[in-house]
Amino acid sequence: MTVDKHSTVGLILPALIALPPLIGLGYAVTASLGLVGVAPGGSTSRYLREVIANHTTWAALGWTLWITIASTFLATLAAVFLAATFRAESKADRFGRIVAVLPLPVPHVVAALSSLLILGQSGLLARVAHSAGIISTPAQMPPLVYDRLGVGLIFALVWKEIPFLALIAFTVLKNRGGMLEETARSLGANGIHTFFYATWPVLWRGMLPGIVAVATFVAGSYETAALLAPSRPLALPLLTMERYTATAMDLRPGAFVLAGFTLLLSLAAVAAYGATIGRTDRLQ
């Protein structure tokens, strides 16, 4: 079915799709101001001020930003590498592409549990190290889950996001890459030059919406953080949930303030996307 975007249906449809999140956003804003929710006390900026003044908020924000940037960057890098490696129509390359996108349907929570089973201090790696006589107790294994750097969390997120970004990269290269690269090669460019001057510019522009989607998803992802993140600093989604389900009711409006911060983080990613695309469009 095609919808004429100038018709009434065409205009109402996007509004209808946007309505539930907008109502949610409206509720979050009014709840963070104490107008609705479990601890309403009239319009007040008390909760906003309290959350801003709390160092835990900034630690959570900074840590979540680190996880978002690190996992998105590594997943992008791996996806680009896969796309550049397995791009021909040969059987081996087609097989490589299939294997690369295989983890796509695996739920994030399964990826997190796998990360726990592999990287935990009593996990697969630790058991191998134990059998090899490198460590004798679980505590001797360097902490890779519930750890300050978020190694286990980043590992799980990267493993889950690679197939998504690789799928986009494969499609971009298939549709747009060939002719430019051929031209570059016929002008005498070597492999590395062809990649950096012909393949990469096409690839990153095509992948950018996917990269932004991954970054915004990672910033708000709860279940992987719940299974793998440390207790300090607490990841932003965990801190939000902790406050939303706190037994002390006056802590809950602060959860809506934190939800607003997560939204701002995602909006910043979308704004950066808009600015980058706008700039390159002007340059071209």
């Binding site: 109502i23 750890d147 207790s231 037994t247």
Partner: protein, 409 residues
């Protein structure tokens, strides 16, 4: 701005009520309080009851879905549906429903302690009703643990369902000589660095509360409502005790497992030597599920371990209070309480006074075989101490996060 809040709430009401249009209101709420019990049962017959409860334990889910649900359908034609939602989530959900002026979803909620306190304070419960249940006559009415919920009188606003007691779990092979008091535990932790921790949630706070009692002269000191000065002195002792042993905690006290599921996993994988549970019999069910090793054993400290009861309440906007009352009454029946008590089912303590039951039921309860991994009932009772006012727990949870967890080195 207030108008904006109302507009948002109205939009929400529209959404929520659209979702609930297939659940007609059964009867005038106020009239139910005056109806004879037979009429309540008649109104409940053939109705649907939605029960919002914690669904995180396969043993509990199996008891509800495969034992309670078919019996209610057979005896009363009631179709019971258990849905996910616990503690603070129940409060949040009911607040949103009230703001949206929407008809409620849940007829029955599984609650206790702070949740009961918050629901009562916010006027989100319907009642009083629990005193009208015929099976309530057999309740253990002399037990302060059953008849007072974190020191709060029930007054018929919730009906007791089960009782539990905090217990440590250790491995009899790994730890041959476990500590039996908090003083011994401190020595043990210092002797075995990196092998002890607690979680960040409900059970961890229960551990700290029991520690607070022990360091401040016992549970009796905390009776009679929340006293800020007492809390200040008692909590300082708790944080002092922790400060002293934290370097010898798991990960030197810098990180903490999120909940008991993570604790059980760390314990089963030999990363720590103790896990804990706010159910004295969880060790038995978790061994059966293969979560804990068969050499695991429960342990209570002689300083006193927390015991509390859990209850069912009816939300202020429940569509089917008669159905909820019949379900609550069934849950209090000797057969439902007996089944729940069996270690191979759930191992949840009974709230009934067995002496008030018929001789047949009395002997059945008394002949229940004690699992060798559990703590004997007499020992449990000897060391059980009730929960103090909910504010103690709320403040302790908040202060621990602020002063210990978020400040970890």
């Amino acid at each position: 701005m207030k108008r904006a809040g109302i507009a948002i709430s109205s939009c929400f009401a529209l959404l929520v009520s659209a979702c609930n249009s297939d659940r007609p209101e059964i009867v005038d709420r106020a009239a139910i309080a005056r109806l004879p019990w037979e009429n309540v049962v008649r109104l409940a017959r053939g109705s649907a009851v939605t029960w919002r409860m914690w669904r995180g334990d396969p043993s509990i889910n199996a008891y509800i879905d495969h034992w309670v649900v078919p019996r209610l359908a057979r005896d009363y034609g009631i179709s019971l549906r258990a849905v996910e939602g616990q503690g603070p989530e129940i409060v949040n959900q009911l607040v949103v429903e009230r703001e949206a002026r929407a008809r409620g979803v849940a007829d029955l909620v599984w609650i206790n302690g702070e949740t009961f306190h918050n629901l009562r304070k916010a006027g989100l419960l319907w009642g009083p009703w629990a005193g009208r249940l015929p099976n309530a006559a057999a309740l253990d009415s002399t037990s302060p643990i059953v008849m007072r919920d974190f020191e709060q009188p029930l007054d018929g606003w919730e009906s007791p369902w089960g009782r539990v007691q905090f217990a440590f779990i250790y491995d009899t092979v790994r730890t041959r000589d476990p500590p039996h008091s908090f003083a011994e535990l401190k020595v043990w932790i210092k002797k075995h660095p990196g092998r002890f921790t607690h979680d960040q949630q409900f059970t961890g706070v229960a551990f700290q509360t029991a520690l607070m009692y022990s360091l401040s002269g016992g549970a009796g000191k905390f009776e009679g409502g929340f006293r800020p000065a007492l809390y200040k002195a008692a909590s300082a002792r708790v944080f002092g005790w922790l400060e002293d042993v934290l370097p010898d905690f798991w990960r030197a006290g810098r990180d903490y497992p999120l909940g008991v599921a993570e604790m059980h996993r760390l314990f089963a994988n030999n990363e720590i030597d103790f896990t804990m549970s706010y159910n004295q019999n969880e060790v038995v069910t978790k061994i059966r599920q293969g979560v804990l090793p068969p050499t695991a054993h429960a342990l209570v400290v002689t300083d006193g371990t927390l015991a509390n009861a859990h209850y069912v309440g009816i939300p202020f906007n429940a569509p089917n209070p008669p159905g909820a009352m019949v379900v609550a009454n069934f849950l209090l029946s000797p057969e439902a309480q007996y089944e729940k008590l069996r270690a191979e089912v759930w191992g949840d303590g009974t709230v009934l006074d067995v002496a008030k039951l018929t001789s047949e039921w009395r002997s059945r309860f008394e002949s229940l075989r004690m699992d060798s991994h559990a703590v004997p009932p007499a020992e449990l009772t000897r060391h059980a101490v009730p929960e103090a006012a909910p504010e103690y727990r709320e403040r302790l949870a908040d202060d621990w996060k602020r002063l210990v967890r978020d400040r970890a080195r």
